[in-house]
Amino acid sequence: MRPDLEIIQQWVKPGNRVLDLGCGDGTLLDFLQRERNATGFGLEINPDHITTCMGRGVSVIEQNLDTQGLGNFDDRTFDTVLMTQALQAVRRPDMVLEEMLRVGREGIVTFPNFAHWRLRWGLTLRGRMPESEALPYKWYNTPNIRLCTFRDFEALCRQKNIRIKSRRVVDGQHQNSWLARLWPNMLGEIAIYRITREET
């Protein structure tokens, strides 16, 4: 099992209602449906991914977060709203976070850390826009238009009164590493955040 799925699974309770923003080919939702008896939807815009979801029994809605938002979902209709590796690809991540925590009680967000040492190295010494396993694109064709660091994200959460319930930092293969835990903003490649607006 992919280690990030393993982590996310622990944060989804059995029978939870889940919304997955940018659900890709439905791997995560399929997994949560089988392992956690979760129900819910994925939103996706890639036609091939949508077809794959439909074929594997994942409910998927063709919906563009940038242009359509989440206005068709009522407040608090989901236990968990997921967004794995898509926050950096939307036009207004701040507004998406607001919407996530309007329609869901809790959000789980993963994104690549732009302050990882290898990216810093690329920019500082080579003077080129960084590329990595988590960010495998060229500057001119990348869908990742809103890159941020772990610290940036945490600052935004503070500003918006969003509480970070947990954070797990992993490397490019989604593996746990003691180095990443030691100095996350320098050594962690991907973080998995669990966020909420609710009090404990």
């Binding site: 129900t39 036609p47 949508i50 794959t52 439909m54």
Partner: protein, 382 residues
């Protein structure tokens, strides 16, 4: 006419007429004491009768959805692109049932059938039928065929309305409802187009208040006009432009009012052909059934409340250039399903053909339809 049958065709098919003796009470309050339904079936019903798929037809459709009636038939059934061995509705796996709806003019009891009480054709006395009435008659058909629960009820346009209505009226008798290029209710503009079509028919001198059979005539001109205006709403500006543009039949303008542009002669041809094979009273009835369809009406316009009893999973598909039932109307339906906490998948398919796109196999449409129906088949173990 095919020289030989394509390998992905269901082949030569023969319609069957089923007679129903138990009276059926309709939404309008009237009762039909007995009636016939003409059906075609493709594929084989499995031992536990779990692999049955119902095809619901649109305004001018009928039971002949796939295959050929004979080697002489010019074109296969109206949805042959999607029904057959290896096609989305795969007849190697599913038992497919397609019928001509009550009120139709292709063999099922309708306005041009003989009313047993008078010995004359019903004509305008045939009761107005609603989508719910059709669904009721289809449920009785399912009983007759020994089908307790459909693997899927599938339809485009007016057929999609039936697929939706099924999920409300018989929530435990279908696993999947596939609603293609449809809408939860007609708009004022949709009704307006229907009214123009009806006026074209009823103002034809040969209409005789719907009693044209008594006068041994047919309101051909009215039907032709009705079809012409309808046909325009099935196509898109772009597809008409691509097909005809401003092309003339001859080289130059003739400064007259005969059909000079290709699009004019095309519409006239389509209209004329239609007027020879379709019944005027049935056309009135079908357009009225469209107008009346509005499952949210009883719930103060809240479709999500109407959806409460539903128990099936939905696939909703729309087409980008469909201006008759736009993607926005499908999204309205999808959003109501989301609000009602139903399982639903939705895609808007890019296709240039307007409303008619649901009949035309485009790669993405076929891929999605294949993937979804493959999953339905696996779910029922075929």
């Amino acid at each position: 006419m095919p020289d030989s049958l394509p390998t992905d065709s269901v082949g030569i098919v023969t319609p069957q007429t089923l007679h129903f003796d138990a009276p059926i009470t309709l939404a309008c309050g009237q009762t039909l004491d007995s009636y016939d339904l003409v059906i075609e079936t493709y594929g084989t019903l499995n031992a536990d009768a779990s692999n049955a798929v119902l095809i619901c037809h649109a305004l001018s459709g009928h039971h002949h959805a796939a295959g050929y009636h004979s080697m002489e038939e010019r074109k296969p059934g109206w949805w042959d692109s999607c029904i057959g061995p290896g096609k989305p509705i795969d007849t190697n796996r599913f038992f497919v049932v397609s019928l001509n709806n009550l009120g139709g003019c292709h063999g099922s009891t309708g306005p041009n059938s003989v009313n047993p009480k008078t010995g004359k054709p019903y004509g305008p006395e045939f009761p107005v039928i609603t989508v719910s009435d059709w669904v009721q008659s289809q449920a009785l058909l399912a009983d007759r065929l020994g089908i307790e629960c459909w693997a899927a009820v599938v339809g485009g346009s007016l057929g999609g309305m039936q697929a939706l209505q099924w999920s409300l009226d018989y929530p435990d008798r279908l696993r999947h409802s596939v609603v293609i290029a449809s809408t939860p209710r007609l708009t004022a503009q949709n009704i307006a187009f229907n009214e123009v079509a009806r006026q074209a028919i009823t103002s034809d001198q040969e209409f005789h208040d719907g009693r044209y059979q008594d006068f041994d005539t047919v309101p051909r001109r009215g039907l032709m006009l009705a079809r012409m205006v309808g046909h325009i709403t099935y196509l898109s500006d772009a597809s008409m432009g691509e097909k005809f543009g401003r092309e003339l039949r001859d080289q130059a303008y003739k400064f007259g009012y005969d059909a000079e542009f290709q699009v004019e002669s095309y519409l006239r041809y389509q209209g004329e052909r239609f007027s020879e094979m379709f019944d005027a009273n049935t056309y009135l009835l079908m357009t009225r059934a469209l107008d009346y369809f509005d499952p949210a009406y009883e719930y103060g316009g809240d479709l999500s409340k109407a959806l409460a009893p539903s128990n099936c999973e939905y696939l909703v598909l729309s087409f980008s250039t469909d201006w008759r039932f736009t993607p926005a109307r499908s999204e309205e339906m999808v959003n109501a399903m989301i609000a009602a906490k139903k399982r639903v998948s939705y895609a808007e398919i890019d296709a240039p053909w307007g409303h008619d796109a649901f009949l035309i196999p485009t790669p993405r449409y076929t891929d999605i339809f294949n993937a979804y129906m493959d999953r339905v088949a696996r779910e029922v173990g075929v």
